[in-house]
């Protein structure tokens, strides 16, 4: 399955969001996620399926004004 992760194409084996995040290197990271422009709370990641062509945004804390 191919998805877009933060705007870049990625090949993924896992289709569940929580498993996909682990596979993409985010295990234990402080992050927030959105799929196709919709916020997916951490508690819903295990119930969220990713599909071919989905767009996944993974955000982390960053400096801001």
């Amino acid at each position: 399955m191919r998805i877009r992760l933060n705007g870049a194409e990625k090949q993924l084996a896992a289709s569940r969001l929580d498993e996909a995040l682990d596979a993409l290197g985010y295990k234990d990271a402080v992050i927030a996620t959105a799929v196709n422009g919709r916020f997916v709370p951490a508690a819903r990641r295990a119930d969220t399926q990713l599909y071919d062509g989905d767009s996944l945004e993974v955000l982390a804390p960053m400096q801001g004004g």
Binding site: Y26, A29, V30, P41, L59, A60, P61, Q63, G65
Partner: protein, 256 residues
């Protein structure tokens, strides 16, 4: 001073971006005495972890964070970002920015009012980055905002308080609403002027972060904010057009 029921003693809110290094950021925050720092959220790759290091630093500072929706140009973007920030930072506070114009980073006040209402209904405590427009301020308050953050000047411009009349009118019109000057300050004297005018606090970032010595500048701003506040509570004189001699005339010798 209270923001949404939280009592604060420092009237300086500080941004965390654009510092030369994390160490200087930490020292500047401490020198400023700020109890609230603004933060943001951005894309992170699984192999990067820059955000994780930043989050550790903020944790060590032990301060309250105010996440922003910087860079959002639509209501949908801002609302979604706010939801992600609430989960990431564990706070219902959100510095709501809906940008309407790229050159001045002027708020899109129509989108701002709509986003503030949506977020307020969803349990957020919104700090809207707005203009000095009285009607917009009224709409934001109707939408549930209990703090307003008008700009002093365009973000990062260091121009100070661009519209003194408008800012004075806003202060006078909403005497009981916490008002924070957000953006555009360049010098401690700008912050002092805002505080003398009766503003409750100032929020700044670039003026400190991009100064030659950010730590020293943070301290300078802290002193200016305190001085301005003290002056405001001391009932400053109203300006007058003609001179009024400070030395008493009574008893002056006739020597001419």
């Amino acid at each position: 001073m209270e923001f949404y029921g939280v009592t604060l003693s420092s009237r300086l809110l500080l941004g965390t971006a654009r510092y030369p290094s994390p160490k200087i950021l930490e020292a500047a925050v401490r020198a400023s005495g700020a109890e609230i720092v603004t933060v943001s959220l951005r894309r992170e790759g699984g192999d990067q972890r820059a955000g994780q290091a930043f989050w550790s630093l903020i944790g060590e500072l032990g301060l309250r964070v105010l996440p922003n929706t910087a860079g959002c140009h639509s209501v949908k973007e801002a609302v979604t970002t706010a939801h992600m920030a609430r989960e990431l930072f564990g706070t219902t506070w959100i510095k709501l920015e809906v940008i309407g114009e790229a050159d001045t980073l002027q708020p899109d006040v129509f989108g701002l009012v709509e986003a503030a209402r949506i977020l307020g209904e969803d349990g957020f405590e919104v700090f809207p980055y707005t203009t000095e427009d009285l009607v917009v301020a009224e709409r934001l308050l109707e939408g549930g905002c209990r703090v307003l953050m008008p700009w002093g000047a365009p973000i990062g411009s260091a121009r100070g308080l661009n519209n003194l009349f408008g800012l004075r009118a806003l202060r006078a019109h909403f005497p009981d609403v916490p008002l924070v000057i957000d953006a555009g300050l360049g010098l401690p004297s700008h912050a002092a002027a805002a505080m003398e005018m009766g503003y409750d606090a100032v929020l700044l970032n670039t003026a400190v972060a991009e100064a030659g010595d950010p730590v020293r500048m943070a301290e300078a701003f802290a002193l200016a904010v305190d001085a301005g506040r003290l002056a405001h509570t001391a009932s400053p004189l109203e300006p007058r057009d003609m001179a009024a001699p400070s030395t008493p005339v009574l008893g002056k010798a006739v020597l001419a």
